[in-house]
Amino acid sequence: MAVLNEEQTMLRDSARDWVREKAPVGAFRRMRDTAAPLGYDPAAFAEMAQMGWAGVVIPEAFGGSEFGYLSLGLVLEEMGRTLVASPLIASSLAAASALVMGGSETQKSEWLPKIAMGEAVATLAVDEGPRHDPLRTALKAEKTGAGYKLTGAKTFVLEGMAADLFIVAARTSGQPGEAKGITLFLVPADAKGLSREQRHLADSRGYAALNLDEVELGSNAVLGEADNGADLLEKTLDRARVGLAAEMLGMSVQAFETTLDYLKTRVQFGQTIGSFQALQHRAAKMFTELELTRSCVEAALTAIDNDAADTPQAVALAKAAAGDTLHLVSREMVQMHGGIGMTDAHDAGLYMKRARALEATYGSTAWHRDRWGRMAGY
């Protein structure tokens, strides 16, 4: 665990206590089993917002606390432990970051206070295909007299069913594959011509597919600079990615601890199975990977807080390390639990499903490894 200041310690402890009392895995399971329409529990998110967690990266001037990314990462890690579903990553981290970094004063004033209070949910609408690839943005934004007309489709939009605001990556010029020509637009969910449909994924969250059919927007809907939105998008995505990595770290820690408890209590052949050396060494391996991953995640969060030049590398490392570790631990969680881990009544499957969904979001482990290699110049 990184060395924390007093604010951060308090924040982490309050998140930890809240999760323990209000949001154990059972809460997520109930949400899933009742097929909650948004893919999370709005009352729980309201509580989070009340505790200030929705405004951690938002400046005080716009109703946030501006505690920074490491601070929000600590909260996300605690949420990850028990699979808490909420718009913290999509809205309070990703969309908020995009607005803070790229928004006009008007845009910030309109949206950030509502996001910080949890009164509005915002999210990125980036991907158009099965795999993350922001440069392949094809959704068309044509210039009109008054502004732009957007036509196209987006998919796998996080918290897309709950969102009040979409930050849509569109193409104002250039070809799919090119950075130049990508523009970000603020599109309210009630815009004429916009429709959404839920996508049911294995992790039971609120994904949506969007369809934009000649959605008319004013010029003031552009976030940042027209045609030059790729940089802002990439910086925003990196903030979202490190949030995903923090959630994955929390999940890994809890999946490991749950498994460790089982190793200490399950008896076979007259012995606790944790006394079998082959399992001991596999547990040691997991512990080792967890410690290494924690370093990567905390370093990436800190890099963002410090606006470090190597932030993209640090983020790629964090997302890849967290992806590998979570797969390892969630697979071992099922295997070491044996038959009981295969049942829907046990938590192991929930971790495994969420693990894959997080991996696929905003760049897989392989994608980030390749990205890291390209950035390192080989």
Partner: protein
């Protein structure tokens, strides 16, 4: 028609002619062995004909209705069936596991009573082995069978009873002596309609319920349903597990079952795309697909080698001991890669936006995690290799 020459090939002609007459062409490539509902029409016809001929259990003795074929003849039959896309309609645990065991250890009366219905595919069997406290350590089972004169009174709980909700009969390990671990176990059979049996399906992480919990409360099992000697059930039960392992590790087992669908390289070209040289565009993913496909090939070659060796005169191949782990690894790796290749699209659970093949993939991926747990976990397989094949000892 080619001249097959030699005596044994005469059977091939017989098989081919019988199949030409009796195999309904509508059944081409249709797999009935795993279906739950009673077949109708051509399916019913095909099953009845094969059952009556005994060729669904080709090497079982004729006296109990089996095919009575030699292994060489059975292979010819298999080849002839494969040639025309005819699948064996007789299957399930009775054929794969219980039948061979009963033929070896059952009394004459037991064989006469239980084997013919298996041969005809009329009776479905389920396996009462695992218990909540006895997983990998199967011999720790506690389900109690008390001697009540003409019957045993059985009380306890079984788990992972596969297909118990559809089964007619159960072969079951019970404890008849609480003072000995392995030597206190007996092998009994009972009708699933016996009073006191309650079956509850278990929902798995992939949403399916192929297994059940089975609660046994004062279930009366007639003494005639004891197979082998009292307290001698462990040997029989273990022998049956060997049949299970063989059926799990073969081409039709884990590797085959979970390696369904398009080849990974084709999947990758569709979902990931290719670079200028036609290579899968994600180089990290590509190298892992190649590695996996090569491992799969190595596994398939090992299956073939083991089969050739067992046909040859070298006795059973060492290679068989690695099959279950190697096969399940190949199957699980494949499923992981497929899900990874398809990205978010490979994680659909239900509803619109996903093709059937995509939805199936995620269920296969999750369901396949069981292949390193059931039928002797990967850890148990490694223990077996280390101790039985390599001769390493336990702590002394």
């Amino acid at each position: 028609m080619p001249d097959f020459g030699g005596e044994p090939e005469a059977f091939r002609v017989e098989a081919r002619e019988w199949l030409a007459e009796n195999f309904p062409p509508s059944m081409k490539n249709v797999d009935l062995a795993m279906t739950v509902d009673a077949p109708t029409g051509d399916a019913k016809l095909w099953k009845e004909r094969m059952g009556a001929k005994g060729w669904g259990t080709p090497t079982w003795p004729k006296v109990y209705g089996g095919g009575g074929l030699t292994p060489a003849e059975a292979r010819m039959l298999q080849q002839e069936m494969a040639r025309i896309g005819a699948r064996n309609p007789i299957g399930g645990m009775g054929v794969m596991m219980f039948g061979p065991t009963l033929l070896e250890y059952g009394s004459e009366e037991q064989k006469q009573r239980h084997i013919p219905p298996i041969v005809r595919g009329e009776i479905r069997w389920c396996q009462g082995y695992s218990e909540p406290g006895a997983g990998s350590d199967l011999a720790a089972l506690q389900t109690k069978a008390e001697d009540k004169g003409d019957h045993f009174l059985v009380n306890g709980q079984k788990v992972w009873t596969s297909g118990a909700q559809y089964a007619d009969w159960c072969f079951c390990l019970v404890r008849t002596d609480p003072n000995h671990k392995h030597e206190g176990i007996s092998f009994v059979l009972f009708d699933m309609k016996t009073p006191g049996i309650e079956v509850r399906p278990i929902k798995l992480i992939n949403g399916y319920s192929p297994f059940c919990e089975t609660f046994l409360t004062d279930v009366k099992v007639p003494k005639e349903n004891l197979v082998g000697p009292l307290n001698g059930g462990w040997t029989i039960g273990k022998r049956l597990l060997q049949h299970e392992r063989n059926s799990l590790s073969g081409g039709g087992g884990s590797a085959g079952r979970f390696a369904a669908g398009k080849p990974l390289d084709q999947l990758a070209k569709e979902y990931v795309g290719v670079d200028e040289e036609g290579r899968v565009a994600d180089p990290d993913l590509r190298t892992r697909i190649i590695r996996h496909q090569m491992e799969t090939k190595a596994f398939m070659l090992t299956l073939m080698r083991a089969a050739a060796e067992s046909k040859g005169n070298q006795g059973p191949s060492n290679a068989t001991s690695i099959m279950k782990n190697a096969g399940s690894k190949v199957g699980q790796d494949r499923a992981e890669l497929a899900v990874e290749i398809m990205g978010s699209q490979g994680l659909g659970w239900e509803g619109p936006g996903f093709e059937a093949a995509e939805l199936e993939q995620v269920r296969n991926w999750l369901g396949g995690k069981a292949t390193t747990i059931y039928g002797g976990s990967a850890e148990i397989q490694n223990n077996i290799i280390a101790k039985r094949i390599l001769g390493l000892l336990d702590h002394q």
